[in-house]
């Protein structure tokens, strides 16, 4: 589809694109630049480049404001949850796509129901359940919640396993492969694309999640990154340099991953948006 051929319309095209580019990228670039400025310059000369480049803000954020601990906490919760989600989604997706069993359709739609309901709706009963189980201020509460939010993963993996030819699985079964090794050694490697899509979607969701940690964690030493940023803002509101350093550190993992796996990110996140 090409209808912008003339020079004047091309100029308008680039003008618009660059304007939008500026609006989108400037706040992020500004955040990164401010994070390496001496702290007072962030407010006194917000538009200038730093007079001296310094990583003091990062050190201060990392040590004094406990972003370092939050980083490790987030890393722990996200990696454990991600592994569980990938395992549950691929096992469920495989069963629904490639195995025959009574109650298949019912169980599938029953599980899919979880996708149509936003997490906020059940946050109150979730809190009550975790409280009664004694899991408030315990990462198990977060991990269980994340393990239970697999509807989207199951849905995506099911569609990827559909593309694996049944004949190959049958052949492996005839050769004496157990059901488990058919799944693990043959089906999983052929559905790797699906695993990347959901790994990326869930990584962004877990790394950035705010409402669940906010509800389940009431102890600052347990803070994940989003919570630590909020605590930081509430106690250090005037110190913008270290705050910008903390914000940069929180955003760098997703931004760096995004620039390496752009296609997969766009695929995973647009698919995630469609779940409603």
């Amino acid at each position: 589809m090409k209808f912008l051929k003339q020079i004047p319309s091309l100029a308008v095209f680039y003008l618009i694109c660059i304007l939008v580019l500026f609006i989108v990228a400037y706040p992020v670039i500004w955040m990164l630049i401010s994070s390496v400025k001496p702290s007072w310059e962030v407010t006194t000369q917000p538009f200038n480049l730093p007079s001296t480049w310094t990583f003091k803000n990062y050190l201060e954020a990392w040590n004094v404001a406990d972003i370092g601990r939050a980083f490790l906490n987030s890393f722990l919760v996200v990696s454990v949850s991600l592994i569980g989600i990938l395992a549950i989604s691929s096992m469920g997706g495989y069963a629904f796509a490639k195995l025959e069993f009574p109650g298949k359709n019912f169980l599938f739609y029953f599980w899919l129901l979880g996708m149509m309901i936003p997490p906020h709706v059940s946050i109150i009963p979730n809190f009550v359940i975790m409280d009664k189980l004694g899991l408030i201020n315990n990462y198990l509460s977060l991990i269980f919640i994340y393990f239970s939010s697999t509807s989207f993963g199951v849905f995506v993996m099911r569609s990827f396993f559909y593309t694996v030819p049944t004949e190959i699985l049958e052949a492996a079964r005839i050769d004496g492969c157990s059901e488990f090794s058919v799944f693990w050694k043959i089906a999983i490697p052929m559905a790797r694309g699906g695993l990347t899509v959901i790994a990326i979607f869930y990584f962004v969701f877990l790394w950035n999640d705010f409402i669940y940690p906010l509800t389940f964690l009431r102890n600052e030493t347990l803070n994940t990154i989003p919570l630590a940023l909020m605590t930081f803002r509430d106690y250090w509101s005037a110190d913008w340099g270290p705050l910008m350093a903390a914000l940069s550190m929180a955003s760098l993992p997703p931004i760096i991953f995004y620039f390496f796996f752009q296609k997969q990110f766009i695929r995973g996140l647009t698919a995630g948006a469609l779940k409603g």
């Binding site: 589809m1 939008v20 409280d131 059901e179 948006a273």
Partner: protein, 307 residues
């Protein structure tokens, strides 16, 4: 012969039993998490919406029937919050849909650097709402923020206080939402545009159609389904709005940016009105569920047309 046949069915039968067994054991770990931590809470919220409870001991829980829903009817802040959600839907959905469709059409033309622009426009989508909220709190900070520093440099003596102004705060939140989310809608539109066969555009060119003909006769009719989907997703997003409000305004000033989710959250977790908060959650559930059902209907209908 019959013996052989029998054995075959028997083998088939045992194979099927083996498969069911494998299937159930593959589903067990997932369902054992999904049922107690996702499904039961959804039922639980309906139950909790009919009790009066401060959330600690089950002994103090009191069944009040529909009282919490009656309270909603007279809660002025609830209606204000709902109205803010609706305003969000009306403005954000229109702006985001038009803007992202416009950019999608521009960037689908594969001119030099389009891929680069697309890539950058999508970037805010991967950031957390907490980061975005804190960053824009600074951008719009009245005394030292970027926007007001710029306005003062341009000679404005009394720049607005943005998030502190109850007339403007909601619109700032809308702007930040569009900033963060339009990239996603844009890519949904790009996917929709890519599915339009090139021959249609070639034919239009041969017939001497101008941009407006192409837009109104080819693009808009064929992109309609995608547009519905984008609009519905954005609408659901506007009702789910929580993080950004919590980070940037906490619902203030004077409830000017209170929305359903924040009202639900503060009522139940700050004031210990578990029952009342749950009733708001049920309202939120019904709204988003109805909208999701429409989305599901459109998507399945769209699939039927496709094949």
């Amino acid at each position: 012969m019959s013996l052989f046949k029998n054995r075959q069915t028997q083998k088939k039968y045992s194979l099927r039993a083996k498969q069911s067994q494998a299937a159930y054991s593959l589903l067990l770990p997932g369902l054992s998490m999904y049922i107690p931590f996702h499904f039961i809470p959804i039922l639980g919220v309906f139950f909790l919406s009919m009790v009066c409870w401060e959330g600690y001991s089950f002994h103090t829980m009191e069944w009040v029937g529909l009282q919490n829903y009656k309270d909603i009817l007279t809660d002025e802040i609830f209606w204000q919050a709902l109205w803010h959600n609706i305003q969000f839907v009306l403005i954000v959905v229109v702006i985001q849909t038009v803007f992202s469709l416009f950019l999608a059409i521009l960037l689908e033309q594969s001119l030099p650097f389009s891929k680069f622009f697309r890539g950058i426009y999508f970037m805010p989508t991967v950031l957390s709402l907490v980061v975005v909220g804190l960053l824009f709190s600074f951008v719009f900070s009245p005394s030292q923020g970027l926007v007001n520093t710029l306005l003062r440099m341009m000679g404005s003596e009394n720049p607005p206080v943005w998030l502190g102004d109850s007339k403007i705060a909601l619109f700032v939140l809308m702007g930040v939402t569009v900033w963060k989310e339009f990239g996603l809608s844009m890519f949904l539109f790009i996917a929709g545009l890519e599915s339009i066969p090139d021959e249609l555009f070639d034919a239009a060119k041969v017939d001497g159609a101008n941009i407006w003909n192409v837009l109104s006769d080819i693009i808009l009719p064929l992109i309609k389904e995608t547009a519905y989907v984008v609009m519905i997703i954005t609408t659901i997003g506007c009702f789910k709005l929580f993080d950004l409000v919590r980070v940037m305004t906490k619902g203030g000033p004077f409830f000017a940016t209170e929305v359903l989710a924040t009202r639900m959250y503060t009522q139940s977790f700050r004031y210990g009105k578990i029952g009342y908060g749950s009733a708001i959650a049920v309202v939120l559930f019904l709204i988003t569920f109805m909208i999701s059902a429409i989305l599901f209907f459109i998507r399945t209908r769209g699939e039927k047309v496709e094949y």
